[in-house]
């Protein structure tokens, strides 16, 4: 029972950065923009988040620094793809290449430093409940924020007028423009939101997951988050399931090594990536009838006046 509790706690922790980054990207893609730079924004978020927390000793300030870094990078992306109508795939790749370099530059001075990890919730009486106590009432703030974020995005997309407009823009920007909606402005806000989420997801890694900064510590999580959005068929609810499944796969490798399973550790480390490929194939296959992707996803829009 204690082992199961430990595993669930570890899965939640491993899933949270995926969920944070993927939910931001889901909103961006729903607005019709494909930002492949999630990995780049995450890794800069991780470096800035660590720098902020190291300088101030506050997890909260660190998280804000991560969000800010993600938003700043996403603005570069917005300027390029929305302002200059540049191909979104190429720009996203550029953002990732730049992000890896910038994070190395910022983080170079912090390698080997330690900070205290994010405090965990403690409610007397509830957190001490057997088994469910720690899982439900003993997490760090990021876990609760990530779940609240998914609910908020669901509410925004399906229960508000602004969400309806955003989805309309993602499905047909020409019609939305003809109806008088500011396509580029709304897309810019969506991209900034996605950047903030990716930055926060990156900051989670050094602030709550491990108490130190390692160059390249996102290890492809940004790309997995992109795959999760496809897995979720662009639906917020399924994103939660997907993120926790992937978290479970990445935790499996740690525990399998602990149990002394006789497979090379590299094979276990490759599991999340292989799982992503398999999931992408399966999900794309079952959808062969018609794609659920936003119809205008990844296409440039230049308003005619």
């Amino acid at each position: 029972m204690e082992l199961l509790e430990a595993i669930i706690l570890a899965v939640l922790a491993a899933s949270t950065p995926l969920l944070l980054a993927a939910s931001g990207e889901l909103l961006v893609e729903r607005a019709g923009v494909l930002n492949l730079g999630v990995e780049g924004m995450m890794i800069v978020g991780a470096a800035c988040g660590f720098a902020g927390a190291w300088a101030t000793g506050s997890t909260f300030i660190g998280a804000l620094c991560g969000i800010f870094a993600g938003v700043a990078l996403s603005l570069v992306f917005a300027l390029m793809t929305l302002g200059l109508a540049v191909n979104q795939v190429a720009t996203g790749l550029a953002l990732t290449i730049l992000g890896v370099g910038v994070s190395g530059l910022i983080g170079a001075g912090f390698v080997g430093e330690r900070i205290s990890t994010a405090p965990r919730l403690y409610i007397p009486g509830l957190t001490t409940l057997p088994f469910v106590g720690k899982i439900l009432f003993g997490e760090d703030a990021f876990v609760y924020v990530s779940l609240a974020l998914v609910i908020a995005i669901w509410y925004f997309l399906y229960r508000t007028r602004a969400g309806l407009i955003l989805r309309a823009i993602g499905d047909n920007h020409v019609s939305a423009h003809a109806l008088g909606y500011p396509v580029l402005k709304i897309r810019m806000f969506a991209v900034m939101f996605g950047g903030g989420c990716a930055g926060l997801a990156g900051a989670y890694l050094p602030l709550a997951y491990t108490p130190f900064f390692v160059p390249g510590m996102t290890a492809g999580r940004g790309w997995i988050a992109l795959a999760l959005v496809v897995f979720a068929s662009w639906l917020p609810g399924r994103l939660v399931i997907g993120a926790y499944l992937f978290g479970a796969v990445s935790i499996l490798q740690l525990h399998a090594q602990g149990w002394g399973v006789g497979v090379p550790s590299q094979l276990m480390s490759a599991l999340p990536y292989l799982a992503t490929v398999i999931v992408l194939v399966l999900i794309s296959r079952t959808r062969s009838g018609g794609s659920t992707a936003p119809a205008a996803l990844g296409t440039v829009f230049v308003p005619d006046r």
Binding site: M80, G101, P215, Q266
Partner: protein
């Protein structure tokens, strides 16, 4: 006041020619500012980065050695990008090619195998790279899975495979437990072009590939099909070109070239298989492809330029203690400027003064 894009009636050929130059100029300005921010003299830093490597014969050879894999990979990628499919996993195909070719080098190590070993290694490397690239291509045409994500995920897998092999079955027993294979035999090593130099056969192979790609794109039906499928998919359908077949073909070619670059790198400058054989050639080649305008000759020039950033970055680290990561920042910024300047080929930026408000006030 507002800036808007206006579509040009036709592509601007002037901007198409000067845009890479403008992009490089803007990058250098941005980098100078960055050098000031990190407290280094920008003139001295730019000198170490771009001028010093061009002033001695050793560095010039090193430039060609670093440019060879970049050009080979970028030529393959440019075919994919021309056909509008996104292979971004060239780094993985590079590593798998290196692994497959090294297998033969490890198996024949210490035997009296003849001169057939190196050509066979290159063939294995190219085939493995092609097969590895066909995984995302097949997933795309058969299942509709995103080739971008699948090809990228396979980079991590290839990296772990290489790591496993050199730490496990292929580790040099006499290597003091370092994660590396034994040094390749002379018959498994890419020969140098000049005795005592650094320049090896790989650079010549890269040149041949550039010419081959120029012929393919400019003089053959297949090259025409690739360009039509990318530029006008509807017209390609009417023309009866199979876009699925071209996805598989372009991925196979680019994977083969990346794999070949991988085995040449291992059997040439490195001399044995070990982790970290690539300083990110597969990703930098994406920038080379775009900076070279997806044109074989352009890619050759762009490859030399980006090779310069690798060498300049290493020298700047030694001479001025500038972190190596600045090279990646540099490459990222360069790609941004290249893409932004390319936008001006298709659009013109117009400044709109707030006249409407004045008119509203008058009525």
């Amino acid at each position: 006041m507002q800036l808007v894009l206006e579509k040009r009636a036709e592509r601007s050929t002037v901007i198409a020619l000067v845009s890479p130059v403008i992009a490089i100029g803007l990058t250098i300005v941005t980098m100078s500012i960055l050098f000031v921010i990190i407290g280094k003299n920008p003139i001295a830093a730019l000198n170490v980065y771009f001028i010093t490597p061009l002033t001695d014969a050793y560095s010039l050879q090193e430039l060609a050695v670093k440019a060879a894999p970049l050009v080979m990979i970028a030529i393959g990628l440019s075919l994919c990008y021309l056909a509008n499919v996104w292979n971004i996993g060239a780094e993985g195909q590079f590593l798998v090619g290196a692994v497959a070719g090294s297998w033969l080098a490890v198996k024949t190590h210490g035997t009296d195998a003849g001169a057939w070993v190196l050509p066979a290694m290159m063939l294995l490397g190219a085939m493995a790279g092609a097969l590895y690239a066909l995984i995302p291509a097949f997933c795309k045409v058969r299942f509709g899975a995103s080739e971008i994500l699948v090809s990228l995920m396979l980079v991590y897998v290839a990296d772990l495979l290489l790591d496993y092999l050199v730490r496990g079955p292929w580790r040099d027993p006499a290597g003091f437990n370092f994660p590396t294979t034994a040094e390749f035999d002379p018959v498994a090593t890419v020969p140098l072009l000049f005795e005592g130099g650094r320049l090896h056969l790989g650079a010549a192979i890269a040149l041949v590939i550039v010419i081959g790609a120029a012929v393919l794109l400019g003089r053959t039906i297949k090259g025409f099909e690739i360009r039509v499928v990318g530029a006008a998919p509807r017209a390609a359908r009417f023309g009866g070109f199979s876009s699925n077949q071209l996805v598989l073909l372009t991925f196979a070619i680019s994977g083969a070239l990346a794999g070949l670059a991988g085995i040449i790198e291992v059997a040439g400058p490195v001399g044995h298989l070990q982790p970290g054989i690539s300083p990110g050639y597969g990703f930098t080649a994406i920038i080379v492809a775009f900076l070279g305008r997806l044109n074989p000759v352009g890619i050759l020039i762009a490859g030399l330029f980006l090779a310069l950033t690798f060498i300049g970055g290493e020298q700047a680290q030694i001479a001025m203690k500038i972190p190596l990561d600045i090279t990646k920042v540099f490459q990222g910024i360069l790609l941004f400027y290249v893409l932004a300047c390319d936008s001006l080929i298709l659009y013109r930026i117009k400044l709109i003064m707030p006249q409407r408000k004045v008119a509203d006030g008058a009525t």
